[in-house]
């Protein structure tokens, strides 16, 4: 008897082991953990918005490995330009990631010129290629055929010191051909050149973050000590991009800044909307990882959305136009989809591309059902089609019931349709106090209009009752007194 029982137990154990092993295989196809921050600033697991699809290296294309690739850009016509800095060449792919051509150099004044450790490039609407040729201290502008248009060299200006070294790192170009250059060692802002390569001036400066402890310390130091201290200078920008309206998005890597992403209007003021629950600065809470995000690239995705690339944790953060964090993907590692030393990110169609210098390849990420739905809903909301967005937000909530932005989105649509009471619930779930207040104000007024008559009737009835009771009591008391006096 005992043996049979034992045998059954062994069998059961074996079966359970089989089952346990069978489950995790299909758990998560992503090599990283996706998360989002909730209202209480906790990182809560979220469905993956993007999954790695493939990687592209130089040998995949048959042109030899990339060497220290520096930047990637997708032209408005859909061609992908990869700046292969170590090999001083530009590799051009089409939208299907097939090799189109390789730009090795260009002809200038009858002689063949090549690049020297270029680190940034940009392709404008006419397929003109702007290359920040760092080693040669110039910006090279080539037309669609690879012919030289002009170069931008060290600017002559009164506001620049004589020993100024022009070393452009990253650049972007607006619709009329003005070039915005982030140059090495320039903390006055982004250098702006006109379409002929003339220096116009600086736009947007990072503010100096005051460290009051240091400030007080400085008061008590001698001159010699002060000379040894670090200077308070603004940090440099790390990258730039431009949106369709001509606003320049810029990132800086200031570790203490709560505004590392800026959206600069034409006069150089920061106009980025920060209406989310927390700062627009990548990771906001650091438990096991080293400090704040170091944002090294920014890409405008359209419909108000933009992505930033964090070099501390090798993740991509995407925000909507109001500064809500939409999703996070990527991470450190050696698998396909995790990154070693990411340097640039781009968007090609609905794919997102991240260039990994450490692994010398380009990682292609594809949106999941969740990611696609979020993108669609945000786009519809941005275009003012809130009623259409509701279906998609509901879809999103099925995939992630913790998605605050979806609750707020549905709430806003209900508010538009004057369904104030229903909207209240959604705003409370989304923790949006401002919209909740608006909805509640309308709901309260509605209720008052509806019930004011009833309320007034009841109040008057109550007052009449009180008066009657009072009179009755008085009458009784008088009767009592009269009776005691023997009048009855």
């Amino acid at each position: 008897m005992a043996r049979t029982v034992k045998r059954w137990f062994v069998l059961l154990a074996a079966v359970s082991l089989l089952l346990v092993n069978a489950v995790p295989a299909a758990a998560s196809p992503a090599p990283y953990e996706s998360y989002n921050y909730n209202y209480w600033k906790e990182a809560v697991p979220a469905p993956d918005a993007y999954l790695p699809k493939r990687t592209i290296s130089g040998s995949d294309l048959g042109i030899g490995e990339f060497k220290d690739p520096g930047d990637v850009n997708v032209s408005p016509s859909g061609q992908i330009y990869i700046l292969d800095s170590g090999n001083s060449r530009i590799v051009v792919l089409n939208g299907e990631y097939k090799l189109l051509r390789v730009i090795e150099g260009f002809m200038m004044d009858g002689s063949k010129e090549s690049f020297n450790t270029p680190s940034g490039l940009f392709v404008d609407e006419e397929d003109r290629v702007y290359i920040a040729d760092t080693g040669n201290s110039r910006v090279v502008v080539l037309d669609a055929e690879g012919q030289l248009v002009h170069t931008i060299t060290k600017p002559e200006s009164d506001i620049l010191s004589t020993n100024f070294q022009f070393q452009p790192l990253k650049l972007t170009v607006d619709r009329v051909g003005r070039v915005y250059v982030v140059a090495q060692g320039v903390y006055e802002g982004i250098m702006q050149f006109d379409e002929h390569g003339q220096f116009i001036g600086y736009v947007g400066t990072n503010k100096v973050e005051r460290d009051y402890g240091e400030y007080i310390w400085r008061l008590f130091s001698t001159k010699a000590q002060r000379a040894q201290m670090v200077l308070f200078v603004p940090t440099e920008f790390s990258n730039v991009d431009i949106d369709a309206k001509g606003f320049v998005y810029a990132t800086n890597i200031d570790p203490g800044s709560s505004e590392p992403i800026k959206r600069l209007n034409p006069s150089g003021e920061d106009v980025l909307k920060r209406f989310g629950y927390f700062e627009v600065k990548g990771d906001i809470r650091f438990r096991n990882n080293p400090g704040p995000s170091k944002l090294i690239d920014v890409k405008v995705l359209g419909n108000g959305m933009y992505s930033v690339l964090d070099a501390t944790q090798n993740r991509v953060f995407t925000y909507d136009d109001e500064g809500h964090l939409l999703y996070v993907y990527g991470g450190k590692g050696n698998q396909v989809g995790t990154l070693k030393t990411p340097v640039a990110m781009e968007q090609s169609g609905n794919h997102q591309l991240v260039l990994d210098r450490g692994k010398s390849n380009l990682v292609v990420y594809e949106p999941t059902r969740f990611g696609t739905s979020v993108n669609e809903a945000v786009a519809l909301h941005y275009q003012g089609e809130d009623t259409q967005a509701v279906h998609i937000w509901k879809e999103v909530l099925k995939l992630n019931a913790n998605y605050d932005i979806a609750y707020i989105g549905i709430g806003k649509s209900l508010l538009m349709e004057k369904k104030n009471e229903e909207a209240l619930g959604y705003f409370e779930l989304g923790m949006d106090r401002k919209s909740y207040s608006v909805a509640f104000k309308r709901y309260r007024r509605e209720m008052m209009k509806e019930h004011f008559g009833t309320f007034l009737t009841l109040a008057i009835a109550l007052i009449c009752m009180l008066i009657l009771v009072r009179v009755a009591a008085k009458w009784r008391r008088r009767r009592q007194i009269d009776r005691e006096a023997g009048l009855h």
């Binding site: 209480w40 409370e428 106090r433 401002k434 909740y436 207040s437 608006v438 509640f440 104000k441 309260r444």
Partner: protein, 206 residues
Amino acid sequence: MKQDYIKFPLHLIFHPIDAFWDLKSDQRGRLTVAFGALALTIIMMILQKQYAGFLVNYIDPRTINSIGEIATVAVPFFLWCIANWAVTTLMEGEGKFRGIFLATGYSLIPIILIYIPMIIISRFMVQEETAFYYLFNSIAFFWFLLLLFIGTMTVHQYTVIKTILTMLLTVIVMGIIVFLGALVFSMLQQLYEFGYNIYRELIFRT
């Protein structure tokens, strides 16, 4: 009954100078009222965290803990009473411990009276009106401080300056008590560890 337990406390919060004197000399204070005020204050704090309107309630619902709430109100309350008694004994205060306890307890009454309607009204407020909520909460707090001040002054028969000085000293002494308590606790723990280690040593060595 009604006179001592309802009418007198209500009279006290509006006429504190007279009433605290009556409380002291005519023995009109009741320990039940002081304890009741403390209990109700704790209840109000809990109710406020739980039921205040969404627009003014920034409490993470997962952190609401009634035991913790009791500790954060009752512990400082008793600490205040003990520290105040300790300080005033040295500073020629007339008050006995009972007097201090009564004065502190009765001072809490405005908090209770203001919190009840504010919790209800806050549920019907919109963002612009929440300023009133915060205003009335501050009024409750400052009223409490004022009563505590007048109470201390009357109970010990102090001058204004001396009262302020005593209250500041009391806060410092509260800190010292907490520090000593932590010290004793830590030492007891180490003593226990020591004894336990010896015990273990003996058990395993034999």
